[in-house]
């Protein structure tokens, strides 16, 4: 992996995903934190990384420098062949993301990841409004990540 400067778990996940050359080639930079930028509108295949529901740990003296965060990764495609991008075929970006993160432990930037556990793997297909075959497809992967934090 290229040297990462990640200092949050969301950035660490993004860098970890991009360290997989197959994903990096497939998304070509279209990996966003939290939401899709309003302008310029990104292309039809993209990935969104959203961290939420951070669970802290405490000891009697204060907060532990560790927490468990639920990170949702949404893999989107809106083109007719989108399932090849989000689906569970070996070469898809969705599947490569699952393989890269599921069970991962290590250090990314300044974030130490104890473990990354897949909590939920869900598919969504929304029919196109224009009657075409360009369904909007999403694969949503929720990972429970136990990691270091800076207090």
């Amino acid at each position: 992996m290229a040297t990462s400067t990640a200092n949050t778990v969301e950035l660490a996940v993004r860098d970890l995903i991009l360290s997989n050359a197959k994903i990096n080639d497939a998304v070509n930079g279209r990996i966003y934190l939290g939401h899709i930028p309003a302008y310029p509108l990104p292309k039809k295949r993209l990935v969104i990384v959203t961290g939420f529901n951070r669970e802290p740990y405490y000891h009697l003296g204060g907060e532990l420098a560790k927490s468990t965060t639920l990170v949702q990764i949404d893999v989107w495609a809106t083109d007719p062949d989108g399932m090849a991008f989000v689906g569970n075929n070996t070469g898809s970006a969705g599947e490569q993301i699952r393989k890269t993160l599921s069970g991962y432990s290590g250090v990314v930037g300044s974030v130490g990841i104890d473990v990354c556990l897949l909590e939920r793997d869900m598919y969504d297909s929304i029919p196109p409004e224009d009657g075409s075959d360009a369904w909007r497809r999403r694969r949503s992967l929720d990972f429970s990540i136990t990691h270091s934090i800076t207090l």
Binding site: Y57, Y58, H59, L60, G61, L64, K66, T68, D114, V115, L117, S144, T146
Partner: protein, 142 residues
């Protein structure tokens, strides 16, 4: 006023054992009830002349054990189970308006050390039981 246990500490005078404790069980002190019933123990004439056993407190008090739970750090080298009797100080949380919490000072040693259970999704914790030997000296918070 009731307060939470957050802020309680425990320190070990000789071994220097330290950790991120998540729970300190203060334990309990106990003494036997010594029976003092004798042949002349009064009868209850209003209730069929039964007698009631009498007791007095034993003058031997067992100050029990302290149960400690803490996050396990594999890098920490102190194995409490091997340590000798030492002076241990446990402090209660500082209540609003206080500058120091109440404290218990006693001699003690580890009688049990439970290694962590390793589970993917959980942080590792370990437990240690400290036997109190002798008196516990109490001091109030101020």
């Amino acid at each position: 006023m009731a307060t939470s246990g957050h802020g309680a500490t425990i320190s070990f005078g000789t071994s220097g054992f330290t950790s991120q404790f998540t729970s300190i069980g203060s334990g309990s002190s106990a003494r036997e009830a010594v029976e003092t019933t004798h042949l002349g123990t009064e009868r209850d004439t209003a209730n069929n002349n039964v007698s009631y056993k009498t007791f007095q407190p034993s003058d031997l008090i067992d100050n029990g054990e302290k149960e400690l739970e803490f996050y396990y750090d594999p890098a920490a080298g102190t194995r409490m189970i091997t340590k000798a009797v030492e002076t241990i100080t446990m402090t209660y949380p500082i209540k609003p308006g206080e500058t120091s919490g109440g404290a218990e000072v006693f001699e003690g040693f580890a009688t049990n050390y439970t290694r962590p259970t390793m589970v993917s999704a959980d942080l590792m914790t370990a437990t240690c039981t400290i036997k109190v030997s002798g008196i516990i000296t109490y001091s109030a918070g101020s």
